[in-house]
């Protein structure tokens, strides 16, 4: 177990150190999410529109912007592995592929978490959303959804990284698989932005957690075959 976590942490440290030096992925992710949120705020007006659907629209825009930004970030993160033949180096080592995979998932989740923090702050300012009142619940929703997106995104971006059509292939593979997480994240976020309680979001959060566990376990098992040349 010590060895498992040592490898996992080695991958996380390496990825975050590389990101800290270049800021290539995080910067692009944050800027992209900000652009989408800002553009839609102009389209729908301050407050993200009016009426019953305002909160649903806000939640939808928020998670769509996060998802698209994540695709850009994943492409860049996996680009580093491709350019450095990092996957081959991983596969040539005796390290547990599950630890390597989970290390990549954690790295991606950390970057997404930073981007989402900025995104929620922008939502509060541009859409007048009451984010702070439900900060705890929204943090839990974001964490559950982020884990699912990072789990699926890491798997599919690693699968597509060695293909010539990787930029096109990644969203084509990833988006359909993320439909359950996206719906659950939007619904749960909408409930809390609209002043709802745990009763309104509990089932959606459960759905995301089940998805996270299933995907993390399944992807950990198959990651070894993805590393193979």
């Amino acid at each position: 177990m010590r060895r498992f976590f040592s490898v996992l942490l080695a991958v996380v440290e390496k990825d975050l150190r590389l990101e800290w030096r270049t800021k290539e992925s995080l910067l692009v992710m944050v800027v992209f999410a900000l652009l989408v949120l800002t553009l839609f705020s102009f389209a729908f007006g301050p407050g993200g529109g009016s009426g019953e659907n305002a909160r649903a629209v806000q939640a939808g825009i928020l998670w769509i912007s996060f998802l698209f930004a994540c695709v850009i970030g994943l492409s860049r993160t996996m680009g580093v592995e491709r350019e450095s033949t990092g996957f081959s180096a991983m596969y040539a080592s005796p390290a547990d592929p599950s630890a390597l995979y989970l290390g990549k998932v954690v790295s991606v989740a950390v970057l997404m978490g930073i981007m989402e923090f900025v995104g929620f702050a922008v939502l509060a300012v541009l859409y007048h959303a009451d984010v702070w009142k439900s900060a705890g619940a929204l943090a839990l929703i974001a964490a559950s959804a982020t884990l699912g997106v990072a789990a699926a995104g890491t798997l599919f971006s690693a699968m597509s990284a060695r293909t010539r059509t990787r930029e096109v292939l990644l969203p084509v593979l990833m988006f359909p698989a993320l439909v359950p997480v996206l719906i659950a994240a939007v619904k749960a976020t909408e409930a809390h932005l609209g002043g709802g309680g745990w009763a309104d979001s509990r089932d959606w959060i459960r759905l995301m957690l089940v998805y996270d566990v299933v995907f993390l376990v399944a992807a950990s098992v198959v990651f070894e075959y993805i590393l193979e040349e």
Partner: protein, 234 residues
């Protein structure tokens, strides 16, 4: 002992290796010669467990190349397998953790290898600013960091100046003095093969067409094998 037993490897419709049998004993250095596309790199990657044979098997000490067995193998590939944004030292620390090398041990080995390869002053520089020669030395350090029993070197001297070649050779000599390593290296340099190896093998079209101990062979014999099977000189 490292063995390839009836190994074939196919990429799509093309066979890169065809029914290849080879064995290398501990303490032995084998030079693999062959023209571009003859299957040398594919064979090294297959021996390293990076590629699975389409047919046949690779065995180390009689066992298939499992994940654990990869910890006993060091591969120097065409690609340096180093992260350009990290320093040489950070790269080595990362790979030491993947290969489960204790930190103290790793520091000792880094000092020893860096001194022998004359790269001490570049250890804290990012890989991206290093010249080809220093990248190759750094990659060589990564290959040997976990003191593998089997060292597979894919054209280790290509693109290097005389000093760099001498440094790499001195490390290989040092290794052989310390322990009974299995060393397999590919090269296009016939004289280098005769200088460093105990046995020479020639690949052509994915098949082993010549295999002989250096003491029973000559550069003329190997050149003749090239002329006969590979259609030209090494």
């Amino acid at each position: 002992m490292l063995e390839a037993i009836g190994v074939s490897r196919r990429y799509g419709w093309r066979w890169a290796l065809k029914d290849l049998n080879l064995s290398v004993s501990p303490g032995e250095t084998l030079a693999l010669l062959g023209k571009n596309g003859s299957g040398k790199t594919t064979l090294l990657k297959t021996l390293a467990g990076l590629l699975k044979p389409t047919q046949g098997a690779v065995r180390l000490s009689g066992q298939p190349i499992s994940r654990e067995a990869k910890g006993r193998i060091g591969l120097l590939s065409h690609e340096p397998m180093l992260y350009e944004g990290l320093t040489v030292r950070e790269n080595l620390e990362y790979f030491a953790r993947l290969f489960d090398v204790e930190r103290e041990e790793m520091l000792t080995r880094v000092d020893l290898l860096a001194g022998t390869l004359e790269i001490e002053e570049r250890l804290d520089e990012p890989v991206r600013v290093l010249s080809q020669g220093f990248r190759q030395r750094a990659a060589f350090m990564r290959t040997l960091l976990h003191t593998p029993e089997v060292v597979l070197l894919d054209e280790p001297f290509s693109g290097l100046d005389t000093n760099a070649v001498q440094r790499l050779e001195s490390v290989i000599d040092l290794m052989r003095d310390l322990r009974e390593y299995i060393v397999v290296f590919t090269t296009h340099d016939l004289s280098k093969a005769f200088e460093m190896a105990e046995r020479i093998a020639v690949l052509a079209g994915g098949r082993l067409v010549y295999e002989e101990d250096v003491e029973n062979s000559s550069e003329e014999d190997v050149s003749a094998a090239f002329d006969e099977y590979a259609g030209g000189s090494a």
